[in-house]
Amino acid sequence: MIEQAMATILFYGFAAAAVVLALAVTISRNLLRAAVCLMGVLSIQAAFYILLAADFLAGVQVLVYVGGIVVVIAFVVTLTRSSQLLMDHPSPLRMLLAIAVAAGFAGVSIAALWMSALHQPGMAHSTMDSTRAIGLALLDTGGSGYVLPFEVISVLLLAAMIGGIGIARKTPPPDQPFTSGGDRSGEADAALPKSQRPSRDRRAPQ
């Protein structure tokens, strides 16, 4: 009884906090502040997973999103100087259109949900150990197992890692492609004042 009452209070409290923080993510002019708010939203999402009795997923959410993605986003915000530029205010027309699309989506889908037959009152109480079940299902080679997508996702993560390194690394000078000489000459040039640095522009002057 008291546990269910607590769950109700926690759900509505977390829901309100999540909506406010999500609005802050989309509205905040300072992108670094938006990244911090995103961290809050994702942590609250982990709390939702715990309320839904998905403990393992909550842990993964905190490890991957809060500890990984948001940190990388914060790094890129500072690397691209986006938090200082503050050029991110939308024009009124654009804002109005965005509000119209978002409100239209929310209105239509919530109306459809409300008229649907999905009024299931409560969560089924499960004492199942979902972490154990997830582990078994991920390594199950049978018809209902997930071992193939599990392996495919590891290849995808490897490809994304290589792609990220390949895209973001400094481009080598034109005479020695596919070497790390570009990085090294860049570091050496950084000691010189800006006007004396040799041009490392890959595009030939027209």
Binding site: V25, T26, G68, A98, A106, A160, R203
Partner: protein, 110 residues
Amino acid sequence: MIQYLASHGPGLIHWLILSNVLFAIGIYGLLSRRNAIGILMAVELMLNSAAMNAVVFNRFLAPKSVDGEILALFVIAVAAAEAVVGLAIFVALFRDRSSIDVNRMDSMKG
């Protein structure tokens, strides 16, 4: 009071409305931001609310299985890969033209 709260716990539809609202906020951010990183953050919001939908349906409609949770796990993994590649592209773009304003990204040729 406690009795009222215990009998008015969140049902399936309340969870779905919550994730719908979060998704709509993500759509707003996606359409109103001009900075590419802001757009990526809005996409992360939307991915998250969609993954939560999978877990909610799993818990309410098929409590014996964990298929929805595994789907959410894969969504998280793909979101991580997408964020890494997207942010690498933003860094490369910023190095090339000193701005990641999506309004000015109208040509693929440097």
